[in-house]
Subunit: 442 residues, 2 copies
């Protein structure tokens, strides 16, 4: 059931030629879902990324013959409603994937119809991929937790609960935005160390956080926990997530109820949802280091130990205004891998529901900042600049302790291994705009 | 503009006789909005509570003549969509209140039509009053913060940020339920003090929290902060809120990102939204004690100092299973007043948006536990039982450190002062059910 199926065959090619270019994020083995439009006044439509094109599923449902069963499942997609499709569960998603893969494969009978349903990605505007009603952010990046903990508690970087509880907080769902949305530097309250009283103004410590976001497929009724097996079945796919953070606001406000305004001004996700099925070939054993405690039974399962980890490579790039003006490409700040996380996706879902909390289709669960084990693998500037003390040097000589106005941050992720076709997540980008004056100008 | 208007005249009587009974929660001076139905298969309809009746606004819009302008504003209400009406702002809400007050007043011409639109509350099932897309819980109860802080830090109960920042955390919106919904005791992970490792099971320290919930009226666009004046204009009304808490889970999980599963299993609100207009006669000056710092300018306004506080009396009652079986009425556990909160409603909204976070119509902002200054005024069992060490004694001799299965918790609130008609919030009740076994039975 979980083995490679024909949709993962690395030799499979598409009649959409751009999908066959080596290094392409969206070969026929990926087939992520997103919402797009080509004119500002249109309703959002659901499409599947293939090469540098989008297959418009509304047009495809109208112009192309499909097997009867698949037609039923195409209905919500054709109506622009990804959430309903997400809630259907694994079987419809697998069947749809097989049907799309067959239709987009070289020499498909459906090719002549579907050619009429392609929209160049360059001509499309993207939206959030679905209605995100709830956003939870976890803290699975143990290297991030350790490095940041060291800044506050050099002798005891990891709190005692970390190895037992998949720590998380509820984030703000209304301010989740899609890649490309400009990010306004937030105003806020913070207390410089040398002062007795807090001050108010634009944050001086604006940061990014390199994360993946899990989108929930099938939810659960209030009061009904998911087992690990259900949790593994019930997630739909993944996006990139930049959990922008105002570090000065965060350190002043976070005791005792956790981060609030330091995070809720914006969180950016990538527009294409890479499905659980597309990630199958990149699953790996989930192994805890010697000396780490075994998870409590509600967070443990054979399947999770055998294939709970996912080998997703991650990268942060930055392009300053000066670099843009000089025509310089973005520079890579760091790289890491989701494989190094302390908790798996199934553990996140199972933990979230164990108290009866009801997850809903389209809920976003962030992994938390995914830093690697080496100091240069920090998934935030807070880590890379050691709390602001050792600024990062950019090409051209600029330095960054934290983000400046005009900086563009780009997250990327991809999966590759021998014997599988490389797939990518596209990009998750945002440009920092200057703060608005306070009080607001009328 | 903010003075008493004719809808507050304490002598005003309704042709709905039950509304004129002294002590009634819903006299003609109140007119709260709610969503109800009389059969399980019907769509939810919006109504206004009057005495022991509900005025069905769908029927009322069809059967009764209304001024043209009011008819337009009745449309979303007649369609069952309170959120759209909430977003319209103050002027439509005041006009609707004046029209409803005139129509329900003694000797109204509309009486004969509206008599056909009354549904007894006893025959109605209530729902959440609106779509609650986001839930934020503040920490404005300074006596709660101090008492709970003392349990952890006897010498330094209030953290240094408390007097400057309206502390809050994002709550879980999907598990907000309406009064009457049974509350399943959650399972979870916690570490008994005498053990080295955490255990898993039903919480042993289930608690309630006595709160008010503010419902947002007009929202704000992402990036655009509300001034204090806008914040004061832009809230719609209030409900009672019970922020059920699992204290053992909370103390084990909350570092460093705040409460998560300890709260997200359920939060109960009362079904009737008491509007800002109904609360007008109970506004009071907002005065900080000597020695307390002045709020930063973004949290300060003349209007807020002059009338930012609201005199809302609050009460918690408990009825155990044994009391129910003996036919004993619920016993009062404590009383407090929202007037004693450290931050006002306008300060909560202004703070929430100052970083650009976008509030939406129907968002729920909890006040945090509202305890009074005296030890017997704790708004939670954690406080009343001093961390579980001094159990509360119930009539009949039972004791409670925390809630037991079968306990029914009822929150009540009301406003009264000389020269105004008393108004009430109705009740916010929930019965504790035993935990489900884990792993779940199939």
């Amino acid at each position: 059931m979980h083995g490679p199926d024909s949709t993962h065959d690395p030799a499979l090619r598409s009649w959409v030629e751009s999908a066959n270019v080596p290094g392409c994020d969206f070969p026929i083995q990926n087939l992520p879902f997103g919402r797009f439009r080509t004119h500002g006044s249109e309703p959002w439509r659901i499409g599947v990324a293939i090469g540098d094109q989008i297959l418009d599923l509304k047009l495809a449902s109208e112009l192309c013959p499909w097997p009867a069963r698949v037609s039923v499942w195409l209905e919500p997609l054709a109506a622009g409603d990804l959430n309903t499709f997400m809630a259907l569960g694994t079987r419809p998603r697998r069947a749809m994937r097989a049907a799309l893969s067959a239709a987009l494969a070289d020499r498909s009978d459906q090719g002549p119809f579907l050619e009429l349903c392609l929209v160049p990605q360059a001509q499309a505007q993207m939206s959030l991929p679905c209605q995100i009603s709830n956003y939870t952010d976890f803290f699975t990046g143990v290297h991030h937790a350790t490095t940041v903990g060291k800044l506050f508690r050099p002798d005891n970087p990891l709190l005692p609960n970390y190895r037992w509880v998949p720590i998380a907080y509820h984030g703000r769902a209304s301010s989740v935005v899609v890649s490309g949305t400009h990010i306004r530097r937030p105003n806020g309250q913070y207390k410089p160390q040398e002062q007795d009283e807090p001050i108010f103004g634009p944050t001086r410590r604006l940061d990014y956080e390199l994360e993946l976001g899990v989108l929930v497929g099938t939810g659960n009724a209030l009061g009904m926990a998911k087992t690990m097996a259900q949790a593994e079945e019930d997630w739909f796919g993944m996006v990139l997530l930049n959990d922008w953070s105002a570090r000065d606001v965060q350190s002043w406000e976070y005791q005792p109820l956790g981060p609030f305004l330091a995070k809720s001004f914006a969180s950016t996700v990538s527009p294409w949802v890479v499905t659980r099925e597309a990630l199958e070939p990149f699953r790996q054993p989930f192994v805890r280091a010697d000396g780490e405690p075994a998870p409590l039974p509600y967070l443990d399962a054979d399947d999770n130990r055998e294939r709970g980890a996912i080998d997703v490579q991650l990268e942060v790039q930055l392009q300053s205004r000066a670099m843009r003006e000089r025509g310089q490409e973005p520079v890579r700040l760091s790289q890491s891998n989701f494989r190094d996380a302390y908790w798996t996706v199934a553990q996140m879902l199972a933990h979230h529901t164990v108290n009866g909390c009801n997850l809903q289709a389209g809920d976003l669960l962030g992994t938390g900042t995914l830093s690697g084990p080496q100091p240069e693998q920090g998934g935030s500037l807070l880590e890379l600049s050691a709390g602001g003390w050792h600024p990062v040097i950019l090409p051209g000589g600029e330095t960054r302790s934290f983000l400046l106005d005009g900086d563009r941050v780009i997250l990327r992720a991809w999966c590759e291994r021998r014997g599988a076709r490389r797939i990518g997540f596209g990009e998750c980008a945002g440009l920092v705009e200057p703060a608005l004056p306070w009080p607001p100008l009328l």
